[in-house]
């Protein structure tokens, strides 16, 4: 049957292609329809919903939905209802470029989202050309600000504050002088690790082993790195990667008999860390941006748990605030026009669930003081010994 069916082969392939084209056209038609109703404040949300970072993307998007429905119930933005248009960027440059172009073609009013800097960077010029305001929810690479795009705002301050806080903590409170730095080879982790390396030097502390240790983000066994840390004689460890690996690392450090004090950066803070690390996690530290009143964030956490039956992720609150920032800018401008929102975003000044939000002229989050948390009784509490500033 297959032997003499060249024409059939073409026919089937042709059918397949036609089907694909028809599918994408029908899909696009849907996109146009949703954008055409001009009365909505459409916020495009590029986030990783598939791939290795899918869980972070989902957690941020959940928080955004929470914010949007709350704002809508209070009358929306300048009389317009918020509609979120979520597009998967998979933390991959190519998929991200498609997501960005799709959102621009759908004429969204603003962008809130993106978790990975590797996806945010190629999206940036596309949004910039279209003149759409962008509030990055969790991507915080300093590289996002060096392009001087006038439409870019970062909800999360760069991680260098984490490093400075941790270095001061090691020196003044813990009195540890030989510190090992371990990063996870991600853009986020290496940036903080490099900052920490410089901070150690300026504080007169030594980098144990003479070099930053690194473990690929997919690795689950840290035995060889731990052996290196152990033989370097480090008395303190600063981890700049994420919570999932942090839990494994802390457990394996304890099992290997390493007594050094463990301090994580903000990405290490998550409920999964506490359950995952178990007894090994007790007494470990993490640096975090100070939230001014515990009330706002606790309320947010409670809402999130109620709505999604799970704990929010480490960046959920930033996603929540990204929507709030845009909504307030829209209300201040009394408009949902992209250009007016950009102008209003510059004057942002309010207290969100992640603290007071203000932007520098280039769009960086301003003035976020840091604090150190310690794991006690199955939760994070403020470290009682406040670092002397």
């Amino acid at each position: 049957m297959f032997r003499n069916s060249k024409s059939m082969r073409f026919a089937t392939s042709g059918l397949l292609v036609t089907g694909l084209v028809a599918l994408s056209i029908s899909f696009q038609a849907g996109g146009v329809a949703s954008a055409a109703s001009k009365s909505n404040f459409v916020i495009g949300v590029p986030l990783p919903m598939t791939g290795a970072e899918a869980s972070a993307g989902t957690e941020i998007f959940n928080a955004m939905k929470l914010a949007a429905s709350k704002i809508n119930s209070q009358g929306g933005v300048a009389g317009h209802k918020i509609v979120l248009n979520e597009q998967d960027s998979a933390c991959d440059a190519t998929t991200a470029v498609n997501a960005a172009n799709l959102l621009v073609s759908a004429h969204v009013n603003a962008i809130a989202g993106e978790y990975c800097s590797s996806a945010a960077l190629p999206e940036q010029p596309i949004f910039s050309r279209a003149g759409i305001p962008v509030v990055f929810a969790a991507a915080n690479s300093p590289a996002l600000l060096t392009g001087h795009f006038k439409n870019t705002f970062l909800t999360l301050a760069s991680g260098s504050g984490d490093a400075a806080e941790a270095a001061a903590f090691f020196k003044q409170d813990l009195k540890e002088t030989k510190i090992a730095i371990i990063d996870d080879q991600s853009a986020y982790g290496t940036a903080i690790a490099d900052a920490m390396s410089a901070d150690l030097r300026s504080n007169g502390l030594t980098l144990a082993g003479g070099a930053i240790q690194a473990v690929p983000a997919t690795q689950t066994d840290f035995s060889s790195v731990i052996a290196a840390v152990k033989s370097s004689g480090a008395t303190g460890i600063f981890w700049t990667g994420y919570y999932a690996q942090a839990a494994l690392l802390v457990k394996q450090l304890a099992a290997a008999g390493v007594k050094a004090t463990f301090v994580g950066s903000e990405a290490a803070i998550d409920a999964t860390f506490i359950t995952g690390a178990g007894s090994a996690g007790i007494g470990t530290y993490a640096t975090e941006f100070v939230s001014p009143s515990g009330k706002a964030i606790n309320l947010f956490n409670a809402h999130y748990r109620k709505a999604f039956k799970s704990a929010p992720g480490p960046y959920s609150s930033y996603g929540y605030d990204a929507i709030q920032i845009l909504a307030r800018a829209g209300n201040a401008a009394k408009s949902i026009q992209p250009s007016k929102i950009i102008a209003a975003l510059r004057k942002t000044n309010f207290v969100g669930v992640t603290g007071r939000i203000k932007f520098s002229p280039v769009g960086a989050r301003l003035g976020m003081p840091e604090e150190v948390l310690v794991v006690k009784n199955g939760q994070y509490v403020k470290n009682s010994v406040q670092p002397k500033l």
Binding site: S55, Q185, P216
Partner: protein, 302 residues
């Protein structure tokens, strides 16, 4: 020197894991000449199944926990073996007349289906899940390197299982049938060997070993994620090739060599270069011995 020794010991332990998954790869390859990219995902699915069973209320207290873990482990081994057999029946078996590359692409498709299937199952999803039972950290010290008793148990179980498969292939009737099918499929059919059964058995064994590795990974590392199979699969594949693919002893040896190479490479150059060290070593080795460490027997067999 002590650092090097402890890196080697750590590598030995890692190798036990790689080896166990690699044996499954190697077995399937030996019979079908198929690089089964979905093998690592059988491992991943097994970890999630074990997570769900152990997470339900049946887990006892005290020493009963380990009894539960043992029988759940056996159950998961059987379940994963059956999953592998099912995958073979649904995907690979209907494609037995197709080109090997097509089979390989289908394996990649299956891998995508398994990963994204787990991603879409409520309660599993994309989060890092904490395993309900984790191993106690107490243990012993060799050459200034701490090992937990559970690590020793893992190595023993891995060794025991690999030895079992080795004996099964080398000493039993079904093993003889496997070797016959691997050597010449047509002749095997003419000798009255039920080739489909042999293939099913091979998939079952491979799956069961991956299941055992998955339960031990879950209990030892305490954390699972839907993408965990991919890295393990890739490492196991490399281990299988390193040792001489299609050869059971080679797969285990390849796993151990790969574990040590990664561990020592990390110690010398830092973990960020470990994969480069591994593959450069692999290229050099294959350059000197184009059939892998124990590949000779495979070559003679052909």
């Amino acid at each position: 020197m002590t650092l090097l020794m402890s890196e080697i010991l750590n590598g030995l332990f890692l190798g036990a894991f790689f080896g166990l998954v690699a044996v499954g790869y190697s077995l399937v390859y030996g019979i079908l000449r198929l690089i089964n990219f979905a093998h690592g995902d059988f491992f991943m699915v097994a970890a999630f199944v074990a997570y769900t069973i152990l997470g339900s209320s049946i887990v006892g207290h005290g020493h009963m926990v380990w009894f539960t873990v043992a029988w759940v482990g056996l159950l998961v081994m059987v379940a994963t073996g059956l999953l592998a057999v099912l995958a073979n029946r649904l995907v690979y078996h209907p494609m037995r007349r197709a080109a090997l590359l097509s089979l390989m692409i289908a394996a990649l498709g299956l891998s995508q289906v398994l990963e994204n299937g787990v991603l879409n199952i409520p309660g599993w999803g994309s989060a890092y899940l904490t395993f309900p039972v984790t191993s106690p950290p107490n243990g012993f010290t060799v050459l200034q390197t701490n090992f937990s008793w559970f690590q020793l148990i893992i190595v023993l179980i891995a060794g025991f299982l690999s030895l079992g498969v080795y004996l099964l292939v080398g000493r039993t009737l079904i093993g003889k049938a496997m070797r016959a099918v691997s050597e010449d499929r047509i002749a095997a059919v003419l000798m009255g060997i039920n080739v489909d059964l042999v293939i099913a058995v091979v998939f079952f064994i491979g799956g069961a070993l991956a299941g055992a590795a998955a339960v031990m990974t879950g209990v030892y590392y305490g954390q699972i994620n839907y993408l965990m199979g991919w890295t393990v699969g890739l490492e196991a594949f490399t281990a299988a090739v390193l040792g001489g693919i299609g050869n059971i002893g080679g797969a285990v040896l390849g796993g151990v060599v790969l574990g040590i190479a990664q561990s020592v490479g990390t110690g010398w150059f830092g973990a960020e270069w470990a994969i480069v060290v591994t593959f450069v070593a692999l290229v050099l080795l294959l350059w000197l011995r184009p059939t892998g460490i124990l590949g000779e027997r495979v070559a003679r067999r052909m």
